[in-house]
Symmetry: C2
Subunit: 499 residues, 2 copies
């Protein structure tokens, strides 16, 4: 089957036409990755860092064409795409720096003790190593940062895993530009071409065939719950089980406490409307649920949110499917109080209602949020407890209020990967302390993140070397510590050589 | 249904009779764990360390009764049980020390930068926190170290997770003694009783009901592939996906290269027979596959293995089911050359034969190993490539041989969690550098280990705190670093306070 990208603003078909990858093509790309895996995993960290830096430079060299094409295919404004481009090359360089420094590999050395009784203690050395070829499925809403050259690819390559990207069918041309930048860097580094592969496809079967392929050792996915769960089921049916990290979105609850509303209700309303309409509401961290306690401050806050939301101008959505989904999902919401029904939509229900209508807790991708009125703080707590897993959860409160509700933070810490005070969840930093993940159904495994340096941990596994001659060990584990890593030697962190 | 333990040596029924936990009982124990979870997760590290140390002391106080009962129920000799008891209390103390030191929590702090353009950078702090109640399924072959108070329980409690153990039906009395030691320690620490629970059951449904229970947030399992895969399927069908770490055994290949056999073939044969018959062959790291290259050294090695195996005295197996399984599985092996058919069994086949008969690659739990003759070193390499995921893989070679086969190590590193030079895989150290895990089907997730301090990582997830007042942060993340942890501050490892 062939397919094309479409001009996001006009719907017009964009050349060229793309063809769903055939089973033979998918097999060839995955086999290429398999064949490249050992050589790539064995490269020195500096080689992988150099590759990531070269990809960043290549992308910068293609910056204008890349942004132009992405603007056509996604409708995202050039200023946003410039920022996302900077973020994308920035995260490639962040992983390059992580790999150059090297301590992420968690090298551990338990030296031998030949005199131990009753049995001598063998020399054990352990570090994190590449898993093997990673299949990456990008998202339509971040055509750079969560796509072909995005965080999944950067973190997988950093660890030494070949990557096979299934390009998002909504931005195939943008994907091709990034793929060419990566391929050029791979070739220039003298690495096997199989270190990076890309397949196109609009048919779900392309994605499933890739996940089923025996050469694939892990999956990184960002997208809808429906697509994520379908790929997860395919992975679970493989003869060889592999790790799947799927980030499937969230409604990102915000709790606004009465004191905060009294103190700065209008500012919170402004921040909220900015956050849930940012990027036309097309972020997985978009706050889609706002909970407050009934009363005068909540009423004036609701009115302020309504007023500001009504004033929001329409934006271009990413593609026809997302736009249609937004229209359908918001039209389907019955028996809610509509506070704003323009380009940005705000509905309101009682907490009691929310807790018995699971459809109200479904993510609606687009400029929509739901205000929920709790009778009192006990009902607000009950609602917090009622929530399922989330990427983020936020509390707005005065200092005194925040201190007075430790129980709320305890519950939210259990429900979400990132908990915020007096902020908004959109805007995900790419840094060591970021956690972009959360309990199911936000992701398939709350123990991992897809953003920040810790994202590399999804695609590595520990290997223990017992009684190896020093020369046969990876450099990370050799006595002399030639890479100067922080290592756990005899249960003590040190950069010293062994013995 | 009721069931009893049996005297391993005589088959005689041991009092008392046990009853399968009812659904209501399972629910009560799991709900107790849920209710204890928040308070336990919030305890100071020193409280959890104290709990683990108290459990160790309580077990030591019950040592004689514990060993006596385990000897009856498992047939394991007292000397072995004394060693396993020491290992078990040792690993409780190891996790206590890990928690007291505290840096395992991987605290990361990215301070705010309010002057950053275009947007200010928020304060982000991230650490590993408890997942919630963990269901633990112990193994019959380690009634102490992989059972009620074993590594799964120790690592889960260390992180602040309540534990619900499903006692192994082959050693319920041993399990009760350990459970009482833990309960006593939990009560003495003033912790909620739900921090630890135990259910009995011989019917598989007890295990499945526990895995299905909504209060359970993670599963740790050690046992057979059949039972592990069944529990995995039950977990995968839950509405809320949870992490399952199941260690399901392995055949632990040993490659013996011709030079090593020429140099010390008799010693290797002796070590091999000791290793595969140790504990009556009832270890998940038992070497069940030995690969060599056809020739005179291989023939004399095979003869030496046969001779030593024939001399092995019969041992008492863990229970009637394991004994029957061993007899059945070894009797079912057709078209192999039997080198030893006494208490210890050794068969031999060609590598070509091995690679087309998948039943030969199945684990046979008990004193059995299979010698496989490769035509040449190319076929030996092909066989290595043919293997599925393993807990361990070993190479015996001279220094020159080991250096000459980097490709073999590369393949084995991909196949196994622990790779050994010139050793035997039985004897698993409990230490920071140990990796007891491996690619499927050895375990369900090669990224984790069930032995060693890193076992704690199975039962924790990162939580990021954005813009929190210092006083509301966990101590691990507070500016002053009151616990003195090694933390990643501004991407640099330090024990210094922030600012």
């Amino acid at each position: 089957m062939t397919f094309s990208a479409h001009h996001a603003a006009t719907g017009e078909t964009l050349a060229p036409a793309y063809t769903d990858a055939t089973p033979a093509e998918i097999d060839a790309v995955a086999e290429g990755a398999r064949q490249a895996a050992e050589a790539f995993a064995a490269t020195a960290p500096a080689v992988r860092a150099g590759l990531l830096e070269a990809i960043a430079l290549n992308l910068e060299a293609r910056r204008e064409a890349w942004i132009d094409r992405a603007h056509l295919e996604t409708g995202l404004p050039p200023a946003r795409l410039q920022g996302e481009c900077a973020r994308t090359v920035g995260q490639l360089r962040l992983f390059a720096a992580l790999v150059r420094e090297g301590s992420w590999a968690d090298a551990r050395i338990d030296p031998a003790d030949t005199t131990r009784k009753p049995a001598p203690k063998p020399d054990l050395r352990r570090m994190l190593r590449a898993l093997g070829p990673v299949a990456v499925f990008g998202a339509s809403n971040f055509p750079f940062a969560f796509s072909v050259a995005g965080g999944d690819t950067a973190s997988a390559l950093a660890a030494g895993n070949p990557v096979v990207v299934k390009a998002h069918p909504a931005h195939p041309g943008t994907s091709d530009i990034a793929a060419e930048a990566i391929r050029t860097a791979v070739a220039a580094a003298g690495l096997p071409a199989g270190v990076f592969g890309l397949v196109h496809g609009a048919a779900p079967e392309v994605s499933h065939a890739l996940v089923r392929h025996p050469a694939i050792c892990a999956v990184g996915f960002t997208g809808s719950a429906q697509a994520g769960k379908a790929l997860l089921a395919t992975a679970a049916a493989r003869p060889e089980l592999i790790p799947v990290f799927a980030e499937m979105g969230s409604i990102n609850p915000i709790f606004v406490l009465p004191g905060a509303l009294a103190e700065r209700g209008a500012a919170i309303a402004e921040g909220l409307v900015n956050s849930f309409t940012l990027g036309v509401g097309q972020f997985c961290t978009k706050p889609g649920l706002v909970i407050g306690v009934a009363g005068a401050t909540w009423e004036s806050f609701s009115a302020e949110v309504a007023k500001r939301a009504q004033a929001v101008a329409p934006g271009v959505m990413l593609h026809a499917g997302i736009k249609a989904g937004f229209v359908r999902a918001s039209a389907a919401l019955q028996n809610v109080e509509w506070l704003a029904e323009g380009a940005a939509k705000v509905a309101r229900v009682s907490a009691a209602e929310f807790m018995v209508r699971p459809e109200l807790a479904q993510e609606i991708f687009g400029p929509y949020t739901l205000l929920v009125t709790a009778r009192d703080s006990a009902e607000l707590m009950a609602l917090a407890e009622h929530l399922e897993g989330q990427l983020t959860a936020t509390v707005h409160g005065t200092e005194a209020e925040l201190t007075a509700v430790p129980g709320l933070f305890t519950v939210l810490t259990r429900k979400a990967g990132r908990v915020l005070c007096n902020g908004f969840p959109t805007g995900v930093e790419v840094s060591p302390a970021m956690q972009h993940g959360g309990p199911f159904p936000a992701t398939t495994d709350a123990r991992f993140t897809s953003v920040g340096t810790a994202a590399i941990l999804r695609f590595v596994r520990p290997v223990c070397y017992q009684a190896f001659p020093d020369a046969l060990l990876p450099a990370e584990l050799q006595n002399a510590n030639p890479l100067g890593l922080m290592r756990l030697v005899n249960n003590t962190l040190t950069r010293e050589a062994v013995r």
